[in-house]
């Protein structure tokens, strides 16, 4: 069996090697594809903090992905049309600066996660899954009919937003930014898992009564985890919007929430690199299977079934021979 550390190192090296090879071979689209995998991985890393450590099976994480996306879309839309953004009391100008957009995206997502978490954490189990789904659907239907920002058509941002000192239009540079964000999130998750907070949160998933009897409030632990989780997924949403230079309500769809969960299960729930491996495999499957047959969904479904039935603990569980946390 392979130690998990070796797998983690291999994954990071692989993620770096592919685009570097692509630059040498002038396979620009491979960079785009890898960037997509990296951003989806980032979103799933966010979810993994709530789901893998805290046991919060959120079927509505698309809310934060979408909010991040719309934060980017709205700010850049106002910047490219030179119209001020009216916030009621104040009106601000839009911006095409990535750092500003990222701050707004994470802040808005964190705030939304706090409100949604506060309400949803009253429930547990399947009820939690469903109430988070309900919030997702509310946002989805709202943006579909929100004509000011394109409704179902969404919004195109014609030029990718800028980052000081970089030319984000060059695919490999944008990849570098996304990769750095992913590494930071992974570092955060790693430190978090080993911290007092991570230990308490992990215990709150398994036995909330115990956490209470040592004088801690499991609800607050979970709420904070949910907020951090939402903020990271929100950042991923902003990056995803910049990758596509486009936002639309599909970023809020329940299918997207489901896909994020699936990425994590494929890779391994609660594992540091689970979401990354899951995203890489998912994007690769989508790309290669799609090239083989019109009816590739059937094969995707079959592969997912095999993973559930025979690969408990996801790919990492399979490779390390150790089952992951039970959610």
């Amino acid at each position: 069996m392979i130690p998990e550390r070796a797998i983690n190192a291999a994954v990071i090296c692989g993620l770096l090697a592919v685009p570097i090879w692509a630059v040498m071979a002038d396979e620009i689209f491979t960079i785009t594809l890898t960037t997509r995998a990296v951003i989806l991985a980032l979103a799933a890393v966010g979810l993994n903090i709530a789901l893998g450590i805290g046991g919060l099976v959120s079927f509505g994480h698309a809310v934060f992905f979408g909010l991040g996306g719309y934060a980017m879309g709205i700010l850049a839309f106002h910047a490219q049309t030179f119209t001020p953004l009216d916030l009621g009391l104040v009106s601000v100008n839009g911006t095409k600066s990535m750092p500003v957009i990222w701050v707004v995206a994470t802040a808005v997502s964190a705030l939304a996660a706090w409100v949604i978490g506060l309400l949803s954490l009253r429930t547990t189990g399947v009820y939690f899954i469903m109430i988070t789904l309900a919030f997702g659907q509310m946002f989805f239907y709202f943006t579909i009919s929100w004509s000011a920002y394109g409704g179902e058509d969404g919004m195109s941002i014609y030029v990718r937003n800028g980052f000081p000192g970089l030319n984000t239009l060059v695919p490999i540079q944008f990849f570098g930014l996304c990769f750095a964000a992913l590494c930071l999130a992974l570092l955060l998750q790693w430190r978090l898992r080993g911290s007092a907070f991570g230990l308490a949160l992990n215990a709150a998933r398994q036995t909330p009564e115990r956490v209470e009897t040592v004088g801690l409030n499991p609800m607050r632990l979970k709420l904070l985890a949910f907020v951090i989780s939402g903020a990271i997924t929100g950042l991923a949403g902003a990056l995803f919007a910049d990758l596509n230079r486009f936002v639309s309500p599909t970023m809020f769809s329940w299918q997207l929430s489901g896909e994020l969960i699936i990425l994590i299960i494929i890779g391994g729930v609660g594992r540091l690199m689970g979401p990354v491996i899951g995203a890489a495999i998912f994007v690769a499957l989508e790309h290669w299977l799609g090239g083989l047959t019109d009816f590739w969904h059937v094969w995707l479904g079959a592969i997912l079934l095999l993973i559930v039935l025979f690969g408990r603990g996801g790919v990492i569980g399979l490779l390390t021979g150790k089952a992951g946390p039970h959610v």
């Binding site: 594809l33 009919s145 004509s147 409704g151 058509d153 799609g290 590739w296 969904h297």
Partner: protein, 376 residues
């Protein structure tokens, strides 16, 4: 889905000095709920390519699954990896909005075989963007015009609550001279229209206009027919297309709808198209198939006239629209959208098959309302 089809490979052996090879990227919907439309566009397009016998056009086809982010990703792939010269194929307005501005900004040509969202016809128009089907409002405007000639005085109008839906109702109201009894927005993807039909029954309207594409239209028509409400209905061609008429059945019989194409338009190109499409695919061609066919023929006409690497010359060749359209006369307006005649057609039954028959002209040489906003 990837199909690299070299039209008429055998012809490649002949040493005809061809112009530079043209690579076309087609992004369309081939799986999931809306796959029927994409398949028709693809089949119509490929039929024209095959009939041309050209060996210098390579078409790369990919499935967008009707998801905007997948479409954007595929467009990146077409531009970055496949290095195509021309893109085409997108069915849905929201996908077109996601893809078209970015690919035209990168200097590629985009020929739209179906979607024509208003921003791309007005302020967001682009010299490299050509719409071969219609501006989204066109068929709705034609429906309003038809309602005038049918002397309807008061219409109940409904559409899903999304941009194409609001555009549709705006389009109808733009030409319709009568009153509006009520204006109702339904949910996107709604399948039950009992509540709306009850409102229609309770209203004092003398006609109903609806825009409910795909499965929504099937549901509405079946439920409307069963409700006992007998006000005349008008709609755009999308709910009365060859692909879905069979699923609506008798409920659609006699309904008037507006379209820029029908299989009985009397010209040699159309007759040949209808016959060869049936021969090749074993079904009647749809509106979408005709649009795919016309798009391919426009492209071929431009390739014959100019080298695709000379963007200005190629653009002029496209703008000339020097090809035989299945619609008869075809010309582009100043914003590269069609100026064309739109017909009123009626659903009939030919033997066992439901289809349409032209009963009159709704709008002659019609352009669109946004051309004035287009500065290029």
């Amino acid at each position: 889905m990837k199909n690299t089809i070299l039209a008429s490979a055998a012809a490649a052996l002949l040493a005809a000095p061809a112009l530079a090879e043209v690579k076309v990227g087609m992004i369309t919907t081939l799986s999931g709920g809306g796959a029927g439309l994409g398949i028709d566009v693809r089949d119509g397009f490929m039929l024209a390519i095959q009939q041309s016998g050209r060996d210098d056009i390579e078409v790369v086809i990919e499935d967008d699954q009707r998801k905007p982010d997948i479409a954007v990703q595929l467009a990146d792939k077409m531009v970055q990896a496949e290095k195509v010269d021309v893109l085409t194929g997108i069915i849905w307005s929201n996908l077109a909005m996601a893809v078209v501005p970015s690919v035209t900004a990168q200097g590629k040509f985009y020929l739209s075989p179906n979607a024509g969202p208003s921003p791309l016809a007005g302020q967001g128009c682009h010299p490299n963007y050509f719409n071969v089907a219609w501006q989204n409002d066109n068929l709705h405007e034609a429906a309003g015009a038809y309602a005038n000639t049918a002397s309807y005085g008061n219409s109940f109008i409904l559409a899903p609550n999304y941009p194409a839906g609001t555009d549709a109702l705006t389009g109808y109201k733009r030409t319709f001279e009568g009153g509006i009894a009520s204006e109702v927005y339904t949910q996107l993807g709604q399948t039950d229209y009992a509540a709306e039909i009850a409102q229609i029954r309770a209203s004092d309207a003398d006609s109903v206009y609806f825009f409910l594409p795909g499965g929504m239209g099937i549901s509405f028509l079946k439920q409307y027919a069963d409700s006992g409400v007998d006000l005349p209905i008008v709609g755009p061609a999308f709910s009365f297309d060859q692909g879905i008429l069979q699923a609506v059945g008798d409920a659609a019989l006699g309904v008037v709808n507006t379209s820029q194409w029908n299989k009985d338009i009397d010209n040699p190109t159309n007759a040949a198209f209808v016959e060869s499409f049936q021969e090749a695919y074993g079904r009647l061609p749809s509106l979408y198939a005709s649009q795919g066919f016309d798009t391919a023929n426009l492209l071929i006409s431009a390739i014959e006239a100019a080298d695709v690497t000379d963007a200005d010359a190629f653009r002029d060749a496209l703008r000339a629209a020097n090809f035989d359209s299945t619609r008869g006369d075809f010309a582009f307006g100043p914003n590269h959208h069609p100026v064309q005649t739109i017909y009123a057609r009626e659903v009939i039954k030919e033997g066992d098959v439901f289809t349409n028959k032209i009963i009159g002209t709704a709008l002659e040489n019609h352009s669109d309302a946004y051309a004035a906003d287009c500065k290029m």
